[in-house]
Symmetry: C2
Subunit: 349 residues, 2 copies
């Protein structure tokens, strides 16, 4: 059962309220006049990969202007990440920026927060309050129960916004420690109905980062906690989105696109599964229809997996057998396997 | 609490009985006279990466002989994967092969199973019974409750071995579906005390495969289920081992080696975290001591993460600051950052 939350609107995207769990990422390069075209193209690529929202760091006014230009033509809603200087948030809100990530606590005086909230409300945008275990308020940072401190930090920001009767807010409570992240979000979800943006922060390079993110995000999603997810990797934004989609698929919250069952290969088989998968990978990634494909090295588990898949291919001696509807359909030499397989998948689509 | 299991010996490795959870992989190339040297070197590389056992497919007698030669000089225990032909298992057991993965059900007559068990017992080796959802006995394969069918298949094999009073057996119940894998292992662990080898089979190419494996294995380990793990990827054996180690680390079952907290980078920072991590990656992978390293782009969370790490580096304007014991220790230009960082880590070791 998904934890019930209120719905918050970020441009055309609804977060919480039972709407589909969205996948977001953050743009990794500075926005300048000479990087703007690449960013615009990057947004289109991310959107095609299944990204629902992209966040940009806005460290200065020039970036706010560039972000505004980008937002005007973006195929998906954009969020601005603001620290310290509330005037940057105000400037972003002059444009079609859908969401502001800001922590009132690091903005300073209450009148500044009031200004940001008033402008956000006027523009129909929303806020994200992002609590991070590595930048807690000073009086909370030496507490040994980190998840409780994270919750308290979130509650302070929440109280300030609630006094202004502003509730179009998404919260996040992130730590680079998986267990702290999971605990903090459980504590929050048990008490409040604001939608949660979940993720393990600074999860690291590709492989350890995928492992930590999958465990933290996957465990929470399986408990029904989380309305939007962000995988934080020291890798590309596109990889973050691909991993996010795969996490949703693994917890059975998304079924569009291709599920590949492929064997790890062993010395038993002459059919090189890995290189076959690489050959058909671009073709497969373009498929939006739900489809299960089995790519298996040999007859030990090959026919069994092929039976459960929409289409399967299995090495058998020096040939490959293509299965359809669980039955052998066509036998081809290895060198023709990729072309024949593509042909048969196309017939299915 | 870890689910209590009996200990089973595979060469120098103890599986179950509260011994550390081991990481295994499978060799992906056929064993032939011209591939034997590469396999021997591969075993040494896998051992250095933290692998505890390597399994080889043994489809014919020639492979059994080569495996025997490899086992005589292997730095870690080897397992033979046998299907259909029990004489291959007998031949492997003439050598220092530590473990036989075999399913009595696909070996045929009981006298053959008896022979394998007798020889395994004589040699002080052990067996693994590997149930796979894609190759269940025919009378179980159309049952809609797949985890229950997997359990029943395991129980049949178990009963046969128990009649022979043989209990040095590790079981595995794998499916390419994460949820089926988790359920089947829960059912088994609730009833039996044989050690469990866990993994999601045929999990797919690198990224989706890591996601599915982490979720399946991670959830089970967090419940105390699992004594040895194998990550099945259509990728290299080395990557399977690295992912396995990272899963153990993420569930806090292993602390040796380096934990990297590294930020995903955003447009705020000029310090390229990803390329810095790549520059120091080989150096870092060689460290066996438990060490937490924080590599952060900017001062928003940088000093906070550096405080929690043994050593940290954070971009700050056009320079990088190295932190030790939570305090700024040294400031260097970006181009000197990797060298200076390596120097400071070496001082710590």
């Amino acid at each position: 059962m998904r934890h019930p939350t209120r719905a918050v609107k970020a441009g055309g995207l609804l977060i919480g309220g039972g709407f589909p769990i969205s996948v977001q990422t953050m743009w990794k390069e500075p926005l300048r006049s000479d990087t703007l075209a690449a960013a615009a193209k990057g947004l289109r690529d991310l959107e095609r990969a299944g990204c629902d929202l992209v966040r940009f760091a806005v460290p200065d006014l020039a970036t706010a202007e560039f972000l505004g230009r980008l937002a005007a033509e973006s195929p998906l809603p954009l969020a601005a990440d603001i620290h310290f200087d509330h005037s940057l948030a105000l400037r972003c809100l002059d444009f079609a920026v859908a969401k502001i990530r800001i922590n009132p606590g690091n903005i300073g005086q209450e009148w500044k927060v009031k200004e940001v909230v008033a402008r956000t409300r006027d523009r129909g945008a929303c806020l994200r309050i992002g609590v991070n275990a590595a930048s807690l308020p000073h009086d909370l940072e030496n507490n040994h129960d980190v998840p409780v401190s994270m919750l308290k930090a979130a509650e302070r920001e929440m109280e300030l916004l609630a006094r202004l009767d502003f509730h179009d807010v998404v919260f996040s409570l992130k730590s680079s420690d998986v267990q702290e992240t999971v605990e903090a979000n459980r504590l929050f979800a048990a008490r409040y109905d604001y939608p949660l943006h979940i993720g393990v922060t600074e999860a690291g390079p590709l492989i350890p980062g995928i492992v930590k993110s999958t465990l933290g995000i996957g465990v929470l999603l399986k408990e029904g906690i989380g309305d939007t997810i962000r995988v934080s990797l020291s890798a590309s934004s596109l990889e973050e989105v691909i991993v996010g989609q795969q996490i949703l698929r693994a917890v059975q919250l998304r079924s569009a696109g291709v599920e590949i069952i492929s064997c790890p290969r062993c010395g038993r088989s002459a059919f090189d599964v890995q290189s076959f998968v690489e050959q058909v990978s671009d073709f497969i990634q373009g498929i939006k229809k739900p489809l299960t494909i089995a790519v298996m090295g040999c007859v030990v588990n090959g026919p069994g997996e092929a039976r459960k898949a929409d289409i399967g291919i299995t090495g058998a001696g020096k040939k490959a057998i293509i299965f359809k509807e669980g039955r052998p359909h066509r036998t081809v030499p290895f060198e023709d396997a990729a072309a024949a397989f593509r042909e048969e998948v196309e017939k299915l689509l």
